[in-house]
Amino acid sequence: MKYIYSTVPALVILGIFLWFSNWIPQTTWEPPKKLQLSADLSPADLARFGETLVKERGCLTCHTIEEGAGERGRGRGPNFAGIGVRPRSTPKYLAESLYDPGAFVVEGYVNIMPSAVAPPARLSYEEATAVVNYLLSLGGRPSVKVGDLPRPAQQAAAPAAAIPAAPQAPAPAEVKAILNKYGCLACHALGGEGGKVGPALDRREIADEAKESKLSVADYIRQSIVAPGAYLAQGFPNIMPADIGDKMTARELEQVVKYLSDGLSK
C-alpha cells in the first residue's frame, strides 16, 4: 500500500501529460483515397479535385498557399499562391515539376521534393493533371484536359534514398548540346560561333530589351523562346519557329534560360 501511495505524484504527473495531450488540437490523419477521374472532366472540375489532392497528399508539408507573400513565401518549397501566372508555369513545366522535381530545381531551393507520382503522394496520371489544373487556377486559369499532358516516364520509382543535391548551375557543354539539338545555333551565335540570322544569344541588348518589356532577363529569354513573336528584337525578321519551345522539355528550357540569363547578368 505504501508503495502505491508513493507513486501518486508520478501518476498525477502522467495525468497532466494526458490532459495536455488531449487538450491540444486533435487531428486524425486518414490515408488518401485514390480518385477515379474520368477523362471527360473539364479543366475547372479537375482543378477542384486537384485542390483536394494537394491537401491530402502531403504537398502542404512543404508548400504554402499564402496570398501576397511572393514566390518564396515561408514554406520549404515555393509558395503556390499566384503560381498559375508565373512566367515559367506552363502546364508542361508544372507537370514535369511533379513527375521529376529534381530535373529543374527552382533557384534558392534544395532538391528535397519527392516525385509526386512516386510514394508517398503517388499521383496517377489523371490526378497529376488535376493538380496541374489546380495550380494553374491559382492566379491563372485551368486549361488542360486529361490526355493533354505528357505522361510520366515511369510510374512509381523507388523512394528517393539519396541525399538531395543542391541545385547546380548548368554546365556550358550541356547547354551547347541542347542548343545544337534544337538547331538554335543555326540562326544564333553564342560565344562568337553560330548563325547570324538571329541575334547573338550573349549580346548585351537582350538585357536592355528585357528592361524595356519590364521582365527579368530570365523571363524575357523564356518568353522569347516559348513565344518568339511576342517581342521582336529590333532589326530581325520574325522567323524563329513558334513551336520550338514546346518541343523542349521543361528542364532543357530552364537550363538554357538560366545559362543565358546568368551570363548576361555578369
Binding site: 508503495y3 502531403g58 508539408t61 512543404c62 504554402t64 507573400a69 534544395v110 508517398p120 534514398a161
Partner: protein, 553 residues
C-alpha cells in the same frame, strides 16, 4: 489474406501494446547489465564494496525481467504473425537469415546472464576479472540482439537495398539502411538513461520501505547514483535525436518534415513539455539533496534564480514552430510570435543554457560541505568562464536568429562546442581546486526528505511514458506504410489516431509496464536480503580509508 482483425481492441492496438511492452523490457534488460557492469568495474578498481553490492543487487532484477522480455516478445511476434500475415511474410522474406541468428544471440545472452548472476560470489577477489569479462560478454550479446532488431525497425522506416518493386537485392543493404546506426546509437544511450532512472526508482521504493538507517543510507545513495547516470546520459540524447532526424531527412525530406513540422509536429510539443518536467523533477531532487550536506546553505540561495532560468528556458524550448494541425492550418500556419521563438536558434540557446544551469547545480552539489583555502583565483576563473560561456551562448543564439540558415547551423555547432568546452575546462579546474578541500560535512546519506524519493519515482514514470510516446512517433511517421514506399498499409487502421488517443494508449502501456515491473521488483526484493555495506549515514560518518578514492560521478 493480408490482415486479420482482433476483436474489440483492434489489431493495431494489440501490436502496439505488444511492441511497446517488449521494447521496454528489452531496454531494461539491456540497460541494467550495462549499468551493473560499469558499477561493478568501478567498485573493483576503487575497492569500494558498496559498488559491488549495488551492481549485484541490480542484476538480481534481471532474471525475472528476462522472463517478461521473452513473454512480451513472444506475444508481439505471435500477434504480428497472426494479425499481419502478409507484412510478416514480406519481412521474413527480406530478413530471413537474421531472424534465424537472432534467437541464437538471445540464448547466448541469457546464458551469460545466468553465469554472471550466479557466479557473483564465487568470482571475487583474484577471479574478479573473469566475472567482469562475463559481464562484458553479456553486454555484447545483448547489444547484438538489439542491433538486429533495430535493422528490422529501421528498415520499415527507411528501406535500403531494395529496388522499386520492393524486392530486396541485398540483405546487407536492407540491414544497413540509413536510419540503422542513428537508431542503434539513440537506443543504446536512451536505454542507459531508461535503466538508470528505473533503478533509482527501485532504490526509492526501497528507501521509503526501509526502517534501518544503514539500509536507508545505502538506498539513498543508490537512487542518487542512478539519477546522476540517467541525467548524464540524457544530455547526449538531443544530439543523437538530431542525428536520427537528419538521417530520416536524408532518406526522405518529406518524412522529416512530416515528423518535425507536419502532422506529427505536436508530438514534439508534448515531448518538450515532458522533458521540461523531467528536468524540473531532477532539479528538484538534486536541490533537496543539498540538504544531505551540512554547510550547503549558501548554495541553496540560488535555487529560485535557477528555477526562473529553467522555466523560461523550457518555455522557449517547448514552443512549436509550425502550429500546423490540419492542412488548412498548415497553409501559412506560422504563428507570428511563437514561430520566431520556436525557431532553431532560440531553441538551441535555451537548451544550452538549461544544460549550463544544471551543470552549475551539480558543481554546487559537489562543492557543498567542502572548504577550500587559497584558491580564489581559480574559483574566479571558473565562474568567469561559466558566465562568459553563458553570455556567448546567448549572444550566438540572438545573432543566429537573424543569420541565414547556413551560418545559423554553424553557430549552433559553435554553441555546443562552447558549452562542452566550458563544462570540461571548469570541471577539470574545479576538480583541481577540490583536491585541496577540507571536508567539513560529507553527505549524510539516508537523511533526505521522503518527497525527494517521489521525484525519483516520478522520473521513472516520465521516462517510460516519453519513450512510449516517441516510439509511437517513430512508427507513425511512416503514415500508411508498413515499409515506407514499398509495402502499403491497407488495413482499416492505416491512418493516424488523434494525439490524445495516442497518449491514452501510451499511458495504458506505461501502467501495464509498471505493474509488471512491480512484480520484477518484488521478486528481486524477496529473492534475498543481503547485508548492507556501511555507507556514511546519519550518525555513521564515512570513513576514508587508505587507498580508497572517492569516486565522483
Amino acid at each position: 489474406m493480408p490482415y486479420r482483425d482482433f476483436p474489440l481492441l483492434g489489431s493495431r492496438n494489440v501490436v502496439w501494446m505488444g511492441a511497446e511492452l517488449h521494447l521496454m523490457f528489452a531496454a531494461f534488460v539491456l540497460a541494467v547489465p550495462l549499468f551493473a557492469l560499469v558499477i561493478e568495474f568501478m567498485g573493483w578498481r576503487s575497492k569500494q564494496e558498496r559498488y559491488d553490492r549495488l551492481a549485484h543487487e541490480l542484476t538480481r532484477l534481471l532474471p525475472p525481467a528476462y522472463t517478461f522480455t521473452a513473454i512480451t516478445g513472444a506475444f508481439m511476434g505471435f500477434s504480428l504473425f497472426t494479425l499481419y500475415p502478409q507484412f510478416m511474410n514480406y519481412m521474413t522474406g527480406v530478413f530471413g537469415p537474421t531472424m534465424w541468428v537472432y534467437p541464437l544471440f538471445f540464448i547466448l545472452e541469457s546464458l551469460s546472464l545466468y553465469f554472471y548472476y550466479y557466479m557473483w560470489d564465487r568470482l571475487q577477489g583474484d577471479k574478479k576479472w573473469i566475472h567482469v569479462l562475463l559481464g562484458l560478454s553479456l553486454n555484447i550479446w545483448g547489444t547484438i540482439v538489439m542491433f538486429i532488431a533495430n535493422s528490422w525497425a529501421s528498415f520499415m522506416m527507411s528501406p535500403g537495398g531494395a529496388n522499386s518493386a520492393g524486392e530486396v537485392q541485398s540483405l546487407w543493404g536492407a540491414i544497413s539502411n540509413l536510419t540503422w546506426w542513428p537508431l542503434n546509437l539513440h537506443r543504446l544511450v536512451a536505454n542507459v538513461t531508461f535503466g538508470a532512472f528505473l533503478c533509482s526508482a527501485y532504490a526509492a521504493y526501497r528507501y521509503l520501505g526501509s526502517k534501518d538507517s544503514k539500509e536507508k543510507a545505502y538506498y539513498d545513495w543508490m537512487g542518487y547514483t542512478g539519477n546522476l547516470v540517467g541525467l548524464f546520459t540524457m544530455l547526449f540524447l538531443p544530439f543523437l535525436g538530431y542525428y536520427l532526424g537528419f538521417e530520416i531527412y536524408s532518406f526522405s525530406p518529406q518524412m522529416g518534415v512530416t515528423l518535425m513540422g507536419g502532422v506529427l509536429s505536436w508530438v514534439f510539443v508534448i515531448q518538450a513539455v515532458v522533458i521540461a518536467t523531467m528536468f524540473l523533477a531532477a532539479a528538484y531532487y538534486s536541490w533537496l539533496g543539498l540538504s544531505r550536506i551540512p554547510g550547503s546553505e549558501p548554495y541553496r540561495r540560488w535555487v529560485p534564480a535557477f528555477n526562473a532560468i529553467l522555466i523560461v528556458g523550457f518555455a522557449v524550448w517547448s514552443t512549436p514552430h509550425t502550429m500546423a494541425a490540419t492542412p488548412e492550418e498548415a497553409t501559412g500556419g506560422f504563428h507570428p510570435v511563437l514561430s520566431s521563438l520556436g525557431l532553431m536558434a532560440p531553441k538551441m540557446a535555451a537548451v544550452s543554457l538549461i544544460l549550463l544551469v544544471l551543470y552549475v547545480s551539480y558543481l554546487f552539489y559537489r562543492r557543498a560541505g567542502k572548504k577550500v583555502k587559497g584558491a580564489g583565483v581559480l574559483n574566479g576563473l571558473i565562474w568567469g568562464l561559466i558566465i562568459l560561456g553563458g553570455v556567448a551562448i546567448l549572444g550566438l543564439g540572438v545573432h543566429g536568429f537573424f543569420a541565414p540558415a547556413a551560418l545559423r547551423i554553424k553557430e549552433s555547432i559553435i554553441q555546443i562546442l562552447v558549452l562542452l568546452g566550458v563544462i570540461l575546462t571548469t570541471f577539470i579546474m574545479d576538480t583541481m581546486r577540490l583536491r585541496k578541500a577540507r571536508i567539513i560535512g560529507s553527505p549524510a546519506w539516508g537523511a533526505v526528505p521522503r518527497r525527494s524519493q517521489y521525484a525519483l519515482i516520478a522520473l521513472a514514470f516520465i521516462i517510460v511514458w516519453l519513450m512510449g510516446l516517441m516510439g509511437y512517433a517513430r512508427s507513425a511517421v511512416r503514415l500508411n506504410w508498413h515499409v515506407s514506399g514499398i509495402l502499403e498499409d491497407t488495413s482499416p487502421q492505416a491512418g493516424l489516431p488523434a494525439l490524445g488517443q495516442a497518449a491514452n494508449m501510451t499511458t495504458i502501456i506505461t501502467l501495464i509496464f509498471f505493474a509488471l515491473l512491480g512484480l520484477v521488483f518484488l521478486f528481486a526484493i524477496y529473492s534475498g536480503r543481503e547485508k548492507v555495506p556501511a555507507i556514511s549515514g546519519p550518525g555513521i560518518p564515512h570513513q576514508h580509508k587508505e587507498g580508497e578514492d572517492e569516486v565522483h560521478l
